[in-house]
Protein backbone atom coordinates (compact mmCIF):
# COMPACT_ATOMS: atom_id res chain seq x y z
CA UNK A 1 0.00 0.00 0.00
CA UNK A 2 2.86 2.33 0.76
CA UNK A 3 4.19 1.73 -2.73
CA UNK A 4 0.81 2.70 -4.11
CA UNK A 5 0.82 5.96 -2.22
CA UNK A 6 4.31 6.79 -3.37
CA UNK A 7 3.45 5.94 -6.95
CA UNK A 8 0.28 8.00 -6.75
CA UNK A 9 2.19 10.97 -5.39
CA UNK A 10 4.81 10.55 -8.11
CA UNK A 11 2.01 10.64 -10.67
CA UNK A 12 0.79 13.86 -9.19
CA UNK A 13 4.05 15.73 -9.54
CA UNK A 14 3.99 16.21 -13.32
CA UNK A 15 0.37 17.23 -12.91
CA UNK A 16 1.40 19.92 -10.46
CA UNK A 17 4.10 21.10 -12.84
CA UNK A 18 1.64 21.16 -15.66
CA UNK A 19 -0.76 23.22 -13.59
CA UNK A 20 1.85 25.74 -12.52
CA UNK A 21 3.07 26.12 -16.10
CA UNK A 22 -0.43 26.55 -17.40
CA UNK A 23 -1.33 29.13 -14.77
CA UNK A 24 1.86 31.04 -15.31
CA UNK A 25 1.30 31.26 -19.04
CA UNK A 26 -2.24 32.34 -18.40
CA UNK A 27 -1.16 35.14 -16.12
CA UNK A 28 1.23 36.49 -18.65
CA UNK A 29 -1.39 36.32 -21.36
CA UNK A 30 -3.58 38.76 -19.55
CA UNK A 31 -4.19 42.00 -21.41
CA UNK A 32 -1.52 44.42 -20.39
CA UNK A 33 0.62 41.69 -18.91
CA UNK A 34 1.16 41.21 -15.22
CA UNK A 35 1.76 44.89 -14.70
CA UNK A 36 -1.55 45.98 -16.20
CA UNK A 37 -2.50 47.66 -12.99
CA UNK A 38 0.46 49.94 -13.01
CA UNK A 39 0.21 50.81 -16.65
CA UNK A 40 -3.08 52.57 -16.15
CA UNK A 41 -1.97 54.77 -13.29
CA UNK A 42 -2.16 58.40 -14.48
CA UNK A 43 1.18 60.13 -14.64
CA UNK A 44 3.14 56.90 -14.91
CA UNK A 45 6.30 57.53 -16.90
CA UNK A 46 8.04 54.82 -18.95
CA UNK A 47 11.04 55.01 -16.64
CA UNK A 48 8.95 54.38 -13.57
CA UNK A 49 7.23 51.51 -15.32
CA UNK A 50 10.61 50.03 -16.15
CA UNK A 51 11.75 50.38 -12.58
CA UNK A 52 8.64 48.64 -11.31
CA UNK A 53 9.08 45.94 -13.92
CA UNK A 54 12.65 45.42 -12.78
CA UNK A 55 11.65 45.26 -9.14
CA UNK A 56 9.05 42.61 -9.95
CA UNK A 57 11.46 40.82 -12.22
CA UNK A 58 9.09 41.06 -15.13
CA UNK A 59 11.65 42.18 -17.71
CA UNK A 60 13.49 38.86 -17.72
CA UNK A 61 12.91 36.25 -20.44
CA UNK A 62 9.72 34.40 -19.70
CA UNK A 63 11.17 30.95 -19.00
CA UNK A 64 13.52 32.50 -16.51
CA UNK A 65 10.59 34.21 -14.87
CA UNK A 66 8.77 30.91 -14.66
CA UNK A 67 11.55 29.11 -12.86
CA UNK A 68 12.15 32.10 -10.67
CA UNK A 69 8.48 32.15 -9.80
CA UNK A 70 8.42 28.41 -9.25
CA UNK A 71 11.44 28.52 -6.99
CA UNK A 72 9.84 31.22 -4.94
CA UNK A 73 6.48 29.53 -4.89
CA UNK A 74 7.88 26.31 -3.51
CA UNK A 75 9.32 28.32 -0.68
CA UNK A 76 5.99 29.99 -0.07
CA UNK A 77 6.89 33.31 -1.59
CA UNK A 78 4.23 34.35 -4.07
CA UNK A 79 5.13 37.96 -4.12
CA UNK A 80 3.20 40.82 -2.63
CA UNK A 81 -0.33 41.69 -3.59
CA UNK A 82 -0.35 44.65 -5.93
CA UNK A 83 -3.22 46.20 -4.04
CA UNK A 84 -2.49 45.55 -0.43
CA UNK A 85 1.30 45.37 -0.61
CA UNK A 86 1.22 42.37 1.67
CA UNK A 87 2.65 38.93 0.91
CA UNK A 88 0.02 37.23 -1.21
CA UNK A 89 0.32 33.88 0.47
CA UNK A 90 -0.11 35.39 3.88
CA UNK A 91 -3.27 37.14 2.75
CA UNK A 92 -4.64 33.89 1.44
CA UNK A 93 -3.82 32.03 4.61
CA UNK A 94 -5.54 34.72 6.63
CA UNK A 95 -8.73 34.10 4.70
CA UNK A 96 -8.49 30.36 4.96
CA UNK A 97 -10.23 29.90 8.33
CA UNK A 98 -13.24 31.86 7.13
CA UNK A 99 -13.68 29.69 4.06
CA UNK A 100 -13.02 26.55 6.03
CA UNK A 101 -15.66 27.54 8.53
CA UNK A 102 -18.27 28.25 5.90
CA UNK A 103 -17.51 25.04 4.08
CA UNK A 104 -17.41 23.01 7.25
CA UNK A 105 -20.80 24.24 8.34
CA UNK A 106 -22.29 23.71 4.88
CA UNK A 107 -20.82 20.23 4.63
CA UNK A 108 -22.09 19.18 8.00
CA UNK A 109 -25.55 20.44 7.24
CA UNK A 110 -25.55 18.96 3.77
CA UNK A 111 -24.28 15.59 4.83
CA UNK A 112 -26.78 15.08 7.60
CA UNK A 113 -29.74 16.05 5.45
CA UNK A 114 -28.49 14.26 2.32
CA UNK A 115 -27.83 11.11 4.30
CA UNK A 116 -31.35 10.99 5.63
CA UNK A 117 -33.03 12.00 2.41
CA UNK A 118 -30.92 9.78 0.21
CA UNK A 119 -31.51 6.66 2.23
CA UNK A 120 -35.19 7.30 2.75
CA UNK A 121 -35.80 7.90 -0.91
CA UNK A 122 -33.84 4.85 -1.97
CA UNK A 123 -35.53 2.55 0.48
CA UNK A 124 -38.94 3.80 -0.53
CA UNK A 125 -38.40 4.19 -4.23
CA UNK A 126 -41.21 5.81 -6.22
CA UNK A 127 -42.87 6.95 -3.02
CA UNK A 128 -43.73 10.54 -2.22
CA UNK A 129 -40.49 10.92 -0.31
CA UNK A 130 -38.56 9.73 -3.31
CA UNK A 131 -40.20 12.24 -5.61
CA UNK A 132 -39.75 14.97 -3.03
CA UNK A 133 -36.04 14.26 -2.75
CA UNK A 134 -35.73 14.08 -6.50
CA UNK A 135 -37.43 17.44 -6.84
CA UNK A 136 -35.24 19.00 -4.17
CA UNK A 137 -32.09 17.73 -5.78
CA UNK A 138 -33.21 18.90 -9.19
CA UNK A 139 -33.85 22.30 -7.66
CA UNK A 140 -30.37 22.36 -6.26
CA UNK A 141 -28.77 21.37 -9.51
CA UNK A 142 -30.77 23.74 -11.66
CA UNK A 143 -30.79 26.95 -9.68
CA UNK A 144 -27.84 29.20 -10.18
CA UNK A 145 -26.13 29.59 -6.81
CA UNK A 146 -26.29 33.32 -6.74
CA UNK A 147 -29.96 33.40 -7.57
CA UNK A 148 -30.87 31.43 -4.51
CA UNK A 149 -28.45 33.47 -2.42
CA UNK A 150 -29.93 36.76 -3.51
CA UNK A 151 -33.47 35.54 -3.05
CA UNK A 152 -32.55 34.23 0.38
CA UNK A 153 -31.09 37.58 1.35
CA UNK A 154 -34.15 39.42 0.13
CA UNK A 155 -36.51 37.09 1.89
CA UNK A 156 -34.75 36.32 5.13
CA UNK A 157 -32.72 39.44 5.67
CA UNK A 158 -34.57 42.31 4.14
CA UNK A 159 -38.17 41.17 4.50
CA UNK A 160 -38.18 38.96 7.56
CA UNK A 161 -35.12 40.45 9.20
CA UNK A 162 -34.32 37.07 10.69
CA UNK A 163 -30.67 36.94 9.67
CA UNK A 164 -27.99 39.44 8.75
CA UNK A 165 -27.38 39.90 5.08
CA UNK A 166 -23.63 39.65 5.14
CA UNK A 167 -20.35 39.73 6.89
CA UNK A 168 -18.93 37.34 9.38
CA UNK A 169 -19.65 39.21 12.58
CA UNK A 170 -21.31 42.35 13.71
CA UNK A 171 -19.32 45.41 12.77
CA UNK A 172 -20.39 47.47 15.72
CA UNK A 173 -20.98 46.29 19.22
CA UNK A 174 -20.10 42.98 20.82
CA UNK A 175 -19.61 39.96 18.63
CA UNK A 176 -19.42 36.71 20.50
CA UNK A 177 -19.93 33.17 19.33
CA UNK A 178 -23.68 33.54 19.14
CA UNK A 179 -23.48 36.53 16.85
CA UNK A 180 -20.91 34.71 14.77
CA UNK A 181 -23.15 31.70 14.37
CA UNK A 182 -26.07 33.93 13.52
CA UNK A 183 -24.10 35.36 10.62
CA UNK A 184 -23.13 31.88 9.52
CA UNK A 185 -26.65 30.51 9.20
CA UNK A 186 -27.77 32.01 5.92
CA UNK A 187 -24.61 31.46 3.85
CA UNK A 188 -24.19 27.96 5.24
CA UNK A 189 -27.76 27.09 4.35
CA UNK A 190 -27.47 28.49 0.85
CA UNK A 191 -24.21 26.72 0.11
CA UNK A 192 -25.34 23.63 1.97
CA UNK A 193 -28.50 23.41 -0.08
CA UNK A 194 -26.57 23.00 -3.29
CA UNK A 195 -24.21 20.48 -1.78
CA UNK A 196 -27.01 18.40 -0.36
CA UNK A 197 -28.89 18.44 -3.63
CA UNK A 198 -25.96 16.70 -5.25
CA UNK A 199 -25.11 14.38 -2.41
CA UNK A 200 -28.63 13.15 -1.83
CA UNK A 201 -28.65 12.02 -5.43
CA UNK A 202 -25.35 10.21 -5.07
CA UNK A 203 -26.45 8.53 -1.89
CA UNK A 204 -29.79 7.66 -3.40
CA UNK A 205 -28.43 6.15 -6.60
CA UNK A 206 -25.69 4.37 -4.71
CA UNK A 207 -28.22 2.91 -2.31
CA UNK A 208 -30.49 1.92 -5.17
CA UNK A 209 -27.71 0.01 -6.84
CA UNK A 210 -26.90 -1.81 -3.66
CA UNK A 211 -30.47 -2.49 -2.62
CA UNK A 212 -31.29 -4.25 -5.85
CA UNK A 213 -28.24 -6.47 -5.58
CA UNK A 214 -28.50 -10.17 -5.08
CA UNK A 215 -26.81 -10.34 -1.71
CA UNK A 216 -29.41 -8.03 -0.25
CA UNK A 217 -32.14 -10.28 -1.59
CA UNK A 218 -30.34 -13.18 0.02
CA UNK A 219 -30.21 -11.41 3.35
CA UNK A 220 -33.90 -10.67 3.20
CA UNK A 221 -34.65 -14.22 2.13
CA UNK A 222 -32.70 -15.44 5.12
CA UNK A 223 -35.12 -13.51 7.28
CA UNK A 224 -32.82 -10.73 8.41
CA UNK A 225 -34.74 -7.75 9.77
CA UNK A 226 -35.18 -4.99 7.19
CA UNK A 227 -33.47 -2.44 9.39
CA UNK A 228 -30.42 -4.64 9.78
CA UNK A 229 -30.38 -5.32 6.06
CA UNK A 230 -30.25 -1.64 5.32
CA UNK A 231 -27.95 -0.53 8.07
CA UNK A 232 -25.39 -3.31 8.16
CA UNK A 233 -25.37 -4.63 4.64
CA UNK A 234 -26.64 -2.08 2.19
CA UNK A 235 -25.41 1.14 3.73
CA UNK A 236 -21.77 0.21 4.08
CA UNK A 237 -21.46 -0.75 0.46
CA UNK A 238 -23.51 2.16 -0.74
CA UNK A 239 -21.53 4.77 1.17
CA UNK A 240 -18.22 3.63 -0.23
CA UNK A 241 -18.32 5.54 -3.52
CA UNK A 242 -20.09 8.39 -1.76
CA UNK A 243 -17.16 8.87 0.59
CA UNK A 244 -14.84 9.23 -2.36
CA UNK A 245 -17.14 11.79 -3.92
CA UNK A 246 -17.30 13.76 -0.70
CA UNK A 247 -13.54 13.98 -0.46
CA UNK A 248 -13.29 15.13 -4.05
CA UNK A 249 -16.09 17.61 -3.58
CA UNK A 250 -14.27 19.18 -0.67
CA UNK A 251 -11.64 20.40 -3.02
CA UNK A 252 -13.97 21.56 -5.72
CA UNK A 253 -16.37 23.30 -3.44
CA UNK A 254 -13.66 25.46 -1.98
CA UNK A 255 -13.94 27.24 -5.25
CA UNK A 256 -17.68 26.91 -5.43
CA UNK A 257 -17.96 28.92 -2.30
CA UNK A 258 -16.73 31.84 -4.36
CA UNK A 259 -20.20 32.92 -5.32
CA UNK A 260 -21.68 32.42 -1.86
CA UNK A 261 -18.85 34.33 -0.26
CA UNK A 262 -19.25 37.19 -2.69
CA UNK A 263 -22.96 37.50 -2.12
CA UNK A 264 -22.77 37.35 1.64
CA UNK A 265 -19.60 39.39 1.89
CA UNK A 266 -18.01 36.49 3.68
CA UNK A 267 -14.30 37.30 4.03
CA UNK A 268 -12.92 34.06 2.62
CA UNK A 269 -10.68 32.88 -0.21
CA UNK A 270 -13.34 33.04 -2.84
CA UNK A 271 -14.14 36.63 -2.15
CA UNK A 272 -10.46 37.48 -2.09
CA UNK A 273 -10.10 35.99 -5.53
CA UNK A 274 -13.11 37.82 -6.87
CA UNK A 275 -11.75 41.12 -5.64
CA UNK A 276 -8.34 40.30 -7.07
CA UNK A 277 -9.85 39.61 -10.46
CA UNK A 278 -11.73 42.86 -10.55
CA UNK A 279 -8.63 44.77 -9.47
CA UNK A 280 -6.05 42.99 -11.60
CA UNK A 281 -4.12 41.78 -8.57
CA UNK A 282 -1.90 39.22 -10.23
CA UNK A 283 0.02 37.66 -7.31
CA UNK A 284 -3.15 37.12 -5.32
CA UNK A 285 -4.89 35.45 -8.23
CA UNK A 286 -1.93 33.19 -8.82
CA UNK A 287 -1.61 32.13 -5.26
CA UNK A 288 -5.31 31.39 -4.89
CA UNK A 289 -5.55 29.27 -8.01
CA UNK A 290 -2.29 27.50 -7.27
CA UNK A 291 -3.36 26.74 -3.75
CA UNK A 292 -6.74 25.39 -4.81
CA UNK A 293 -5.18 23.27 -7.54
CA UNK A 294 -2.78 21.75 -5.05
CA UNK A 295 -5.67 21.07 -2.72
CA UNK A 296 -7.55 19.31 -5.52
CA UNK A 297 -4.57 17.17 -6.45
CA UNK A 298 -3.98 16.20 -2.84
CA UNK A 299 -7.67 15.46 -2.36
CA UNK A 300 -7.60 13.18 -5.40
CA UNK A 301 -4.70 11.21 -4.01
CA UNK A 302 -6.39 11.04 -0.66
CA UNK A 303 -9.65 9.85 -2.21
CA UNK A 304 -7.88 7.10 -4.13
CA UNK A 305 -6.06 5.86 -1.08
CA UNK A 306 -9.17 6.11 1.06
CA UNK A 307 -11.20 4.10 -1.41
CA UNK A 308 -8.51 1.49 -1.50
CA UNK A 309 -8.50 1.27 2.26
CA UNK A 310 -12.26 1.06 2.59
CA UNK A 311 -13.08 -1.33 -0.20
CA UNK A 312 -11.79 -4.81 0.61
CA UNK A 313 -12.02 -5.80 -3.04
CA UNK A 314 -9.35 -3.32 -4.04
CA UNK A 315 -5.80 -4.63 -4.00
CA UNK A 316 -2.77 -2.51 -4.56
CA UNK A 317 -0.44 -3.98 -7.12
Amino acid sequence: MGVFVVRRVAQAIPVLFGISLFLFILMHAMPGGPLALFRDVPGMTPQELKAIAASYGVNQPIWQQYFGWLGNAVRGNFGDSYIYQEPALRMLVQRLPATAELMGASFLLAFVVAFVLGILSAVRQYSFMDYFVTVVSYFGMSLPTFFLGIVAIIFFSVELKWFPSGGMAAVTGPSGLGDHLWHLVLPAFVLGFFILAQWSRYIRSSMLEVINADYIRTARAKGVAEWTVIWRHALRNALLPVVTVIVLDTAFLAGGALVTETIFSWPGMGRLFYQAVSQGDYPTMMVTVTFLSVVIVVANIFADVLYGLLDPRVTFN
Binding site: G18, I19, A29, P144, F146, F147, G256, V289, L292
Partner: protein, 305 residues
Amino acid sequence: MAAAAGPQSEITAEELAALQVEASRVRTYGQMVLQRFLRHRMALVAALVLILIALSAAFAPQLAPYKPAVPDLNAMLAPPSAQHIMGTDPIGLDLFTQVLYGGRISLSIGLFAAILSVVVGGLVGSVSGYFGGWIDIILMRITDVALSVPYLFLVLLLALIIGATPVSVVLIISSFSWMYPARIVRSQFLSLKHRDFVEAARAMGMGTGRIMFRQIFPNALAPLIVNCTLLVGQAIVIESVMDFLGAGLTPPNMSWGWLLNQGQTYIANAPWLTIFPGIAIFIVVLCVNVVGDGLRDALDPTSRL
Protein backbone atom coordinates in the same frame (compact mmCIF):
# COMPACT_ATOMS: atom_id res chain seq x y z
CA MET B 1 -52.80 -24.29 -30.79
CA ALA B 2 -54.66 -24.10 -27.51
CA ALA B 3 -53.78 -27.68 -26.79
CA ALA B 4 -50.12 -27.02 -27.51
CA ALA B 5 -50.08 -24.10 -25.06
CA GLY B 6 -50.85 -26.42 -22.13
CA PRO B 7 -53.89 -27.62 -20.22
CA GLN B 8 -53.96 -24.64 -17.77
CA SER B 9 -53.48 -21.98 -20.41
CA GLU B 10 -56.25 -19.50 -20.99
CA ILE B 11 -54.76 -17.98 -24.07
CA THR B 12 -56.73 -18.43 -27.19
CA ALA B 13 -55.13 -19.43 -30.40
CA GLU B 14 -55.44 -15.93 -31.82
CA GLU B 15 -53.85 -14.31 -28.80
CA LEU B 16 -50.98 -16.70 -28.86
CA ALA B 17 -50.38 -16.02 -32.52
CA ALA B 18 -50.43 -12.28 -31.87
CA LEU B 19 -47.94 -12.67 -29.04
CA GLN B 20 -45.62 -14.66 -31.22
CA VAL B 21 -45.74 -12.02 -33.91
CA GLU B 22 -45.03 -9.31 -31.33
CA ALA B 23 -42.09 -11.16 -29.85
CA SER B 24 -40.50 -11.82 -33.19
CA ARG B 25 -40.79 -8.22 -34.35
CA VAL B 26 -37.30 -6.87 -34.55
CA ARG B 27 -36.78 -3.59 -32.79
CA THR B 28 -33.63 -1.61 -33.19
CA TYR B 29 -31.89 -0.33 -30.11
CA GLY B 30 -32.98 3.14 -31.03
CA GLN B 31 -36.62 2.13 -31.21
CA MET B 32 -36.38 0.43 -27.85
CA VAL B 33 -34.80 3.49 -26.31
CA LEU B 34 -37.49 5.71 -27.74
CA GLN B 35 -40.25 3.48 -26.42
CA ARG B 36 -38.72 3.41 -22.97
CA PHE B 37 -38.21 7.14 -22.98
CA LEU B 38 -41.83 7.71 -23.92
CA ARG B 39 -42.90 5.74 -20.88
CA HIS B 40 -40.99 8.08 -18.59
CA ARG B 41 -43.63 10.68 -17.90
CA MET B 42 -41.51 13.33 -16.22
CA ALA B 43 -38.87 13.21 -18.92
CA LEU B 44 -41.50 13.43 -21.59
CA VAL B 45 -43.04 16.53 -20.07
CA ALA B 46 -39.59 18.06 -19.64
CA ALA B 47 -38.70 17.32 -23.24
CA LEU B 48 -41.89 18.99 -24.43
CA VAL B 49 -41.18 22.06 -22.32
CA LEU B 50 -37.69 22.25 -23.75
CA ILE B 51 -38.98 22.00 -27.28
CA LEU B 52 -41.47 24.78 -26.55
CA ILE B 53 -38.78 27.01 -25.11
CA ALA B 54 -36.42 26.29 -27.99
CA LEU B 55 -39.15 27.16 -30.46
CA SER B 56 -39.94 30.36 -28.62
CA ALA B 57 -36.30 31.35 -28.80
CA ALA B 58 -36.08 30.49 -32.47
CA PHE B 59 -39.22 32.46 -33.25
CA ALA B 60 -38.44 35.33 -30.89
CA PRO B 61 -38.87 38.01 -33.54
CA GLN B 62 -42.34 36.70 -34.31
CA LEU B 63 -43.39 36.10 -30.72
CA ALA B 64 -42.02 39.21 -29.06
CA PRO B 65 -44.68 41.84 -28.47
CA TYR B 66 -42.17 44.66 -28.82
CA LYS B 67 -39.09 45.34 -30.86
CA PRO B 68 -35.95 44.38 -28.94
CA ALA B 69 -34.16 47.71 -28.68
CA VAL B 70 -37.11 50.06 -28.62
CA PRO B 71 -37.95 51.32 -25.16
CA ASP B 72 -41.44 52.18 -24.06
CA LEU B 73 -40.87 55.51 -22.42
CA ASN B 74 -44.28 55.52 -20.78
CA ALA B 75 -43.46 52.45 -18.73
CA MET B 76 -40.00 52.51 -17.22
CA LEU B 77 -39.34 50.00 -14.48
CA ALA B 78 -42.98 49.02 -14.58
CA PRO B 79 -44.28 45.93 -12.82
CA PRO B 80 -45.91 43.14 -14.86
CA SER B 81 -49.13 44.32 -16.45
CA ALA B 82 -51.33 43.65 -19.42
CA GLN B 83 -49.09 45.64 -21.76
CA HIS B 84 -45.87 44.19 -20.40
CA ILE B 85 -46.48 40.73 -19.09
CA MET B 86 -43.09 40.53 -17.43
CA GLY B 87 -42.69 44.19 -16.65
CA THR B 88 -40.04 46.54 -17.98
CA ASP B 89 -36.48 47.41 -17.15
CA PRO B 90 -35.14 50.80 -16.05
CA ILE B 91 -35.01 52.19 -19.58
CA GLY B 92 -38.41 50.90 -20.59
CA LEU B 93 -37.47 47.77 -22.52
CA ASP B 94 -40.08 45.06 -22.24
CA LEU B 95 -38.72 42.19 -20.14
CA PHE B 96 -40.64 39.47 -21.95
CA THR B 97 -39.03 40.52 -25.22
CA GLN B 98 -35.63 40.53 -23.57
CA VAL B 99 -36.19 37.10 -22.11
CA LEU B 100 -37.24 35.73 -25.50
CA TYR B 101 -34.22 37.15 -27.25
CA GLY B 102 -31.94 36.33 -24.36
CA GLY B 103 -33.03 32.75 -24.63
CA ARG B 104 -31.44 32.55 -28.06
CA ILE B 105 -28.06 33.40 -26.59
CA SER B 106 -28.31 31.35 -23.43
CA LEU B 107 -29.64 28.27 -25.19
CA SER B 108 -27.16 28.39 -28.03
CA ILE B 109 -24.26 28.87 -25.66
CA GLY B 110 -25.43 25.92 -23.62
CA LEU B 111 -25.93 23.73 -26.65
CA PHE B 112 -22.69 24.56 -28.42
CA ALA B 113 -20.58 24.37 -25.29
CA ALA B 114 -21.97 20.91 -24.59
CA ILE B 115 -21.47 19.74 -28.16
CA LEU B 116 -17.93 21.07 -28.31
CA SER B 117 -17.06 19.45 -24.98
CA VAL B 118 -18.44 16.13 -26.12
CA VAL B 119 -16.71 16.25 -29.50
CA VAL B 120 -13.33 17.18 -28.05
CA GLY B 121 -13.72 14.86 -25.10
CA GLY B 122 -14.90 12.04 -27.32
CA LEU B 123 -11.89 12.40 -29.59
CA VAL B 124 -9.43 12.56 -26.73
CA GLY B 125 -11.06 9.62 -24.98
CA SER B 126 -11.22 7.47 -28.11
CA VAL B 127 -7.62 8.05 -29.09
CA SER B 128 -6.43 7.66 -25.55
CA GLY B 129 -8.41 4.51 -24.88
CA TYR B 130 -7.77 2.79 -28.18
CA PHE B 131 -4.07 3.35 -28.61
CA GLY B 132 -3.02 3.17 -25.01
CA GLY B 133 0.66 3.42 -24.20
CA TRP B 134 2.38 6.77 -24.22
CA ILE B 135 -0.46 8.51 -26.00
CA ASP B 136 -2.79 7.43 -23.26
CA ILE B 137 -0.42 8.47 -20.51
CA ILE B 138 0.21 11.91 -21.93
CA LEU B 139 -3.43 12.59 -22.72
CA MET B 140 -4.49 11.44 -19.30
CA ARG B 141 -1.93 13.65 -17.61
CA ILE B 142 -3.28 16.59 -19.57
CA THR B 143 -6.78 15.60 -18.52
CA ASP B 144 -5.63 15.40 -14.92
CA VAL B 145 -4.18 18.89 -15.10
CA ALA B 146 -7.39 20.21 -16.56
CA LEU B 147 -9.37 18.47 -13.84
CA SER B 148 -7.20 19.80 -11.06
CA VAL B 149 -7.80 23.47 -11.56
CA PRO B 150 -10.73 25.10 -9.81
CA TYR B 151 -13.29 25.44 -12.55
CA LEU B 152 -15.02 28.70 -11.75
CA PHE B 153 -11.78 30.49 -11.01
CA LEU B 154 -10.30 29.49 -14.31
CA VAL B 155 -13.41 30.46 -16.18
CA LEU B 156 -13.29 33.94 -14.66
CA LEU B 157 -9.59 34.28 -15.43
CA LEU B 158 -10.04 33.21 -19.01
CA ALA B 159 -12.98 35.54 -19.46
CA LEU B 160 -10.78 38.35 -18.21
CA ILE B 161 -7.96 37.45 -20.56
CA ILE B 162 -9.86 36.64 -23.70
CA GLY B 163 -12.83 38.89 -23.26
CA ALA B 164 -16.40 37.65 -23.27
CA THR B 165 -18.23 37.19 -26.54
CA PRO B 166 -20.69 34.37 -27.15
CA VAL B 167 -18.05 32.47 -29.11
CA SER B 168 -15.33 32.97 -26.53
CA VAL B 169 -17.70 32.02 -23.74
CA VAL B 170 -18.52 28.76 -25.51
CA LEU B 171 -14.80 28.07 -25.88
CA ILE B 172 -14.04 28.94 -22.29
CA ILE B 173 -16.79 26.77 -20.89
CA SER B 174 -15.87 23.85 -23.13
CA SER B 175 -12.20 24.10 -22.31
CA PHE B 176 -12.91 22.80 -18.84
CA SER B 177 -15.83 20.50 -19.51
CA TRP B 178 -14.37 18.13 -22.08
CA MET B 179 -12.62 15.95 -19.50
CA TYR B 180 -15.76 14.18 -18.35
CA PRO B 181 -16.85 12.93 -21.77
CA ALA B 182 -13.21 12.02 -22.40
CA ARG B 183 -13.12 9.79 -19.36
CA ILE B 184 -16.41 8.16 -20.22
CA VAL B 185 -15.36 7.37 -23.75
CA ARG B 186 -11.92 6.23 -22.70
CA SER B 187 -13.23 3.74 -20.19
CA GLN B 188 -15.54 2.28 -22.84
CA PHE B 189 -12.66 1.91 -25.24
CA LEU B 190 -10.45 0.35 -22.62
CA SER B 191 -12.98 -2.30 -21.82
CA LEU B 192 -14.02 -3.03 -25.37
CA LYS B 193 -10.87 -2.91 -27.45
CA HIS B 194 -9.88 -6.43 -26.59
CA ARG B 195 -13.21 -7.93 -27.43
CA ASP B 196 -13.70 -10.43 -30.19
CA PHE B 197 -15.73 -8.21 -32.43
CA VAL B 198 -12.88 -5.73 -32.60
CA GLU B 199 -10.44 -8.45 -33.51
CA ALA B 200 -12.84 -9.75 -36.10
CA ALA B 201 -13.11 -6.28 -37.59
CA ARG B 202 -9.36 -6.03 -37.74
CA ALA B 203 -9.12 -9.45 -39.33
CA MET B 204 -11.58 -8.31 -41.96
CA GLY B 205 -9.17 -5.53 -42.80
CA MET B 206 -11.13 -2.65 -41.33
CA GLY B 207 -9.10 0.49 -40.95
CA THR B 208 -8.31 1.82 -37.48
CA GLY B 209 -10.51 4.85 -37.85
CA ARG B 210 -13.49 2.79 -38.87
CA ILE B 211 -13.00 0.33 -36.05
CA MET B 212 -12.80 3.12 -33.56
CA PHE B 213 -15.81 5.07 -34.68
CA ARG B 214 -18.11 2.56 -36.25
CA GLN B 215 -17.49 -0.39 -33.96
CA ILE B 216 -16.40 0.67 -30.52
CA PHE B 217 -17.57 4.24 -30.20
CA PRO B 218 -21.33 3.56 -30.53
CA ASN B 219 -21.16 1.64 -27.29
CA ALA B 220 -20.00 4.73 -25.49
CA LEU B 221 -22.81 6.75 -26.99
CA ALA B 222 -25.31 6.07 -24.24
CA PRO B 223 -23.49 7.55 -21.24
CA LEU B 224 -22.10 10.21 -23.54
CA ILE B 225 -25.53 11.43 -24.55
CA VAL B 226 -26.61 11.63 -20.94
CA ASN B 227 -23.47 13.53 -20.08
CA CYS B 228 -24.04 15.87 -22.99
CA THR B 229 -27.52 16.84 -21.85
CA LEU B 230 -26.26 17.51 -18.36
CA LEU B 231 -23.48 19.65 -19.78
CA VAL B 232 -26.02 21.86 -21.51
CA GLY B 233 -27.59 22.75 -18.20
CA GLN B 234 -24.23 23.20 -16.57
CA ALA B 235 -23.04 25.49 -19.34
CA ILE B 236 -26.10 27.70 -19.06
CA VAL B 237 -25.59 28.04 -15.32
CA ILE B 238 -21.87 28.77 -15.64
CA GLU B 239 -22.58 31.41 -18.23
CA SER B 240 -25.02 33.12 -15.92
CA VAL B 241 -22.56 32.97 -13.03
CA MET B 242 -19.97 34.61 -15.25
CA ASP B 243 -22.40 37.39 -16.03
CA PHE B 244 -23.27 37.78 -12.40
CA LEU B 245 -19.65 38.22 -11.39
CA GLY B 246 -19.15 40.78 -14.10
CA ALA B 247 -16.90 38.66 -16.29
CA GLY B 248 -19.55 37.58 -18.76
CA LEU B 249 -21.42 38.87 -21.74
CA THR B 250 -22.29 42.50 -22.30
CA PRO B 251 -24.89 44.20 -24.50
CA PRO B 252 -25.91 43.58 -27.23
CA ASN B 253 -25.58 39.98 -26.05
CA MET B 254 -28.11 40.08 -23.29
CA SER B 255 -28.39 36.52 -22.16
CA TRP B 256 -30.53 35.44 -19.25
CA GLY B 257 -27.52 35.59 -16.98
CA TRP B 258 -26.89 39.17 -18.02
CA LEU B 259 -30.52 40.03 -17.34
CA LEU B 260 -30.17 38.51 -13.89
CA ASN B 261 -27.06 40.51 -13.23
CA GLN B 262 -28.66 43.73 -14.30
CA GLY B 263 -31.76 42.98 -12.31
CA GLN B 264 -30.08 42.49 -9.00
CA THR B 265 -29.35 46.19 -8.66
CA TYR B 266 -33.08 46.77 -8.55
CA ILE B 267 -34.01 43.72 -6.63
CA ALA B 268 -35.67 45.54 -3.77
CA ASN B 269 -38.09 47.62 -5.80
CA ALA B 270 -38.28 45.72 -9.07
CA PRO B 271 -37.92 42.03 -8.25
CA TRP B 272 -39.50 40.92 -11.51
CA LEU B 273 -36.27 41.85 -13.27
CA THR B 274 -34.51 39.02 -11.50
CA ILE B 275 -37.39 36.63 -10.98
CA PHE B 276 -38.35 36.03 -14.61
CA PRO B 277 -34.88 35.46 -16.09
CA GLY B 278 -34.05 33.37 -13.04
CA ILE B 279 -37.13 31.24 -13.55
CA ALA B 280 -36.28 30.89 -17.22
CA ILE B 281 -32.81 29.58 -16.43
CA PHE B 282 -34.19 27.36 -13.75
CA ILE B 283 -36.86 25.78 -15.93
CA VAL B 284 -34.51 25.12 -18.82
CA VAL B 285 -31.80 23.60 -16.66
CA LEU B 286 -34.36 21.58 -14.72
CA CYS B 287 -35.92 20.17 -17.87
CA VAL B 288 -32.52 19.42 -19.32
CA ASN B 289 -31.58 17.49 -16.21
CA VAL B 290 -34.85 15.58 -16.15
CA VAL B 291 -34.50 14.68 -19.81
CA GLY B 292 -30.92 13.59 -19.14
CA ASP B 293 -32.09 11.33 -16.37
CA GLY B 294 -34.89 9.96 -18.51
CA LEU B 295 -32.44 9.25 -21.28
CA ARG B 296 -30.17 7.47 -18.88
CA ASP B 297 -33.00 5.27 -17.69
CA ALA B 298 -34.17 4.64 -21.23
CA LEU B 299 -30.71 3.74 -22.49
CA ASP B 300 -30.02 1.28 -19.70
CA PRO B 301 -31.85 -1.96 -20.44
CA THR B 302 -31.55 -3.14 -16.86
CA SER B 303 -33.39 -0.29 -15.18
CA ARG B 304 -37.06 -0.55 -14.39
CA LEU B 305 -39.18 1.19 -16.99
